[in-house]
């Protein structure tokens, strides 16, 4: 299986990554090499082996249901000091309307 240039552009758009034609071609080559590698791996017999959702075969540790944050007003001030624009405690972004 190999990708088309159109698919590369579409994936880039979905990820909001701007790519030039040259980059698109180069990326297509890279991705197709990865697909070739995957195809090679497909030859391995995986019958009866469950898929892993994570590279490490360990289970998630859980946190107790406790509020551990305090003085978030000060924290907000620190976060918003590096935000491009804020007002009344809100982060401002270009207008979004559905």
């Amino acid at each position: 299986m190999s990708l088309t240039l159109e698919q590369v552009r579409r994936v880039a758009h979905l990820a909001r990554i701007e790519i030039s034609d040259v980059e698109a071609h180069r990326t297509l080559g890279h991705l197709n090499e990865i697909f070739a590698l995957i195809e090679e791996m497909q030859a391995v017999d995986t019958q009866g082996i469950g898929p892993m959702a994570h590279a490490q075969d360990v289970a998630q540790r859980l946190r107790a249901d406790l509020v551990t944050e305090s003085d978030q007003l000060a924290q907000r001030a620190a976060f918003q000091a590096i935000a491009p624009e804020t007002e009344g405690g809100l982060y401002l972004v270009p207008k979004v309307i559905e």
Binding site: H54, Q75, G88, L90, L92, K95, E98
Partner: protein, 483 residues
């Protein structure tokens, strides 16, 4: 003319009643100043790692057990990728191929008939933040404001099969689900605050057609009334469109409560290409069976089982049992009332709770938990009706005293106010003799065959005793005297 069949499936987002967020230690409380409940994880600063809140998993398992679902042994969190300013990570942590809850069923009641709705799954996910488009400073002409307090609030998304065939069934399902999540204490069900919101997938097909029609999804229905209106409008719109020779395009629509219409949202072509993949920041969740059993042991008796027991043990009608089990608080109050009044008065307790108490609470816009009359006080009152100490009419007076806090118990009020029923024959007979002597006209009318005169005489006795005479006893004695 063609007959159409309506097909509805529902997705519900229930906000889970945890203290902290699903992946961070921020508070989930509603109504704080903007962004004060958003820490580094919630606003997605680089380098942060999510850590799963055990409380949210417990809620999901409780729900799964309550609907008879399979609880996954192994569950995985996935990234759902899309760009929106109230989602600072650029993805929502959700679940895709391996949700916590698989299958399950919920019984619903539509009019007199029962029906079972099958659930597909229920999965954990985080909520997004909120975008505000108006109402603040001058910048808001070109800008939207982002409040991330809600970002990371735990949600359980509950998905049904396309099992419902009318807006009435859809609303009955939503109500049953709403009652259940509150019953098992996993969601406060506050629809105004967005703690319980439904999306309805609606399609129509000619009766007999095996495959489903194209569906449109009505988003964010936050009241049962709107759900009914939105589905009814959508159904007639789809039928009208098809009958005019048009076709239905798959779309997401919003309901406008003002116009009563549904309208397609402008949707980007890529909107549904979420490119889910397992979140490498979170390890798979292992749910061992002993933990599940421990959670099962802590579940309250479920509504269906409770209803059956009320009918079997207390001889209540199916209707009464259903009304009383509309919430865990209400049925708890009822059972505590019976515990004091005695099982023999169980039916009377049901009437008092459902009629007298409910009317009073309703009038003052109070919840059962805010009743000034405790279950023990009401039970004590009903016991005194049951043993003939007071009549139902006098009991209503005593109830008023209790409601107004003028007395600690029915017994105390009855004694203080001298409200005991007069059942003693000799004093009643004396009273009757006086009355008959004073009302010869009525006596003559009764003897002439007018039953009305008899009732008027009883009325006189009740008036003379300020309602305290035992009406049955008075009636018996009077018949004897006149007969």
């Amino acid at each position: 003319m063609k007959q159409w069949e309506v097909v509805i499936g529902i997705e519900t987002h229930a906000q889970l009643s945890t203290q902290a967020k699903i992946f961070s230690g921020s508070s989930t409380a509603f109504g704080s100043a903007p962004n004060v409940q958003a820490n580094a994880v919630d606003i997605a600063l680089p380098g942060v790692l999510p850590v799963l809140n055990k409380g949210a998993v417990v809620c999901a398992i409780r729900f799964g057990l309550a609907v008879g679902a399979e609880i996954a042994r192994h569950s995985v969190f996935a990234r759902k990728n899309y760009f929106y300013p109230d989602l600072p990570k650029g993805y929502q942590i959700s679940q895709y191929e391996w949700p916590v809850v698989l299958g399950g069923q919920l019984a619903i009641q539509v009019g007199e008939s029962e029906k079972t709705v099958s659930l597909t799954r229920a999965h954990l996910e985080e909520d997004a933040g909120k975008s505000l488009h108006e109402g603040l400073g001058p910048h808001f002409r070109e800008c939207s404001g982002i409040d991330l307090n809600r970002a990371g609030t735990p949600l359980l998304e509950i998905v049904t099969e396309p099992d419902m065939r009318s807006s009435a069934e859809a609303v009955a399902y939503a109500r049953a689900l709403h009652a259940l999540v509150r019953w098992i204490g996993i969601c406060d069900g506050n629809m105004q605050e967005g703690s319980f919101r439904c999306d309805a997938n609606v399609s129509v097909r000619p009766v007999g057609q095996p495959h489903f029609g194209t569906r449109r999804e009505i988003k964010n229905l936050n009241s049962f009334r709107f759900m009914q209106q939105a589905i009814d409008y959508e159904v007639q719109w789809q039928i009208a469109t098809l009958e005019d020779g048009g076709s239905i395009e798959q779309a997401t629509v919003l309901f406008d409560p003002v116009s009563g219409e549904t309208r397609a949202m402008r949707s980007k072509e890529d909107a549904h290409d979420y490119r889910y993949f397992p979140d490498p920041d979170l390890l798979p969740l292992a749910i061992d069976r002993s933990w599940v059993e421990q959670i099962r042991a802590q579940l309250p008796e479920l509504p269906t089982a409770k209803r059956e027991r009320l009918i079997a043990d207390y001889g209540l009608s199916a209707y009464d049992a259903r009304v009383l089990t509309s919430s865990l608080e209400l049925v708890g109050y009822y059972e505590a009332t019976v515990a004091t009044a005695g099982q023999a008065n169980a039916k009377s307790c049901a009437n008092w709770v459902m009629v007298d108490l409910a009317a009073r609470l309703n009038k003052e816009d109070r919840e059962i938990g805010e009743s000034p009359v405790s279950a023990e006080q009401l039970g004590g009152l009903i016991a005194r009706i049951g043993d003939g100490t007071i009549s139902t009419n006098i009991a209503r007076k005593v109830f008023d005293f209790l409601w107004n806090g003028e007395g600690s118990s029915a017994d105390e009020i009855i004694a203080r106010q001298g409200l005991q029923q007069i059942s003693d024959s000799s004093s009643l007979e004396m009273l009757l003799d006086e009355l008959l002597a004073a009302n010869p006209a009525m006596v003559a009318e009764f003897r002439a065959g007018k039953e009305k005169a008899f009732n008027a005489l009883i009325g006189q006795v009740m008036k003379a005793t300020r309602g305290q005479a035992n009406p049955q006893r008075v009636s018996d004695l009077l018949r004897k005297k006149l007969g």
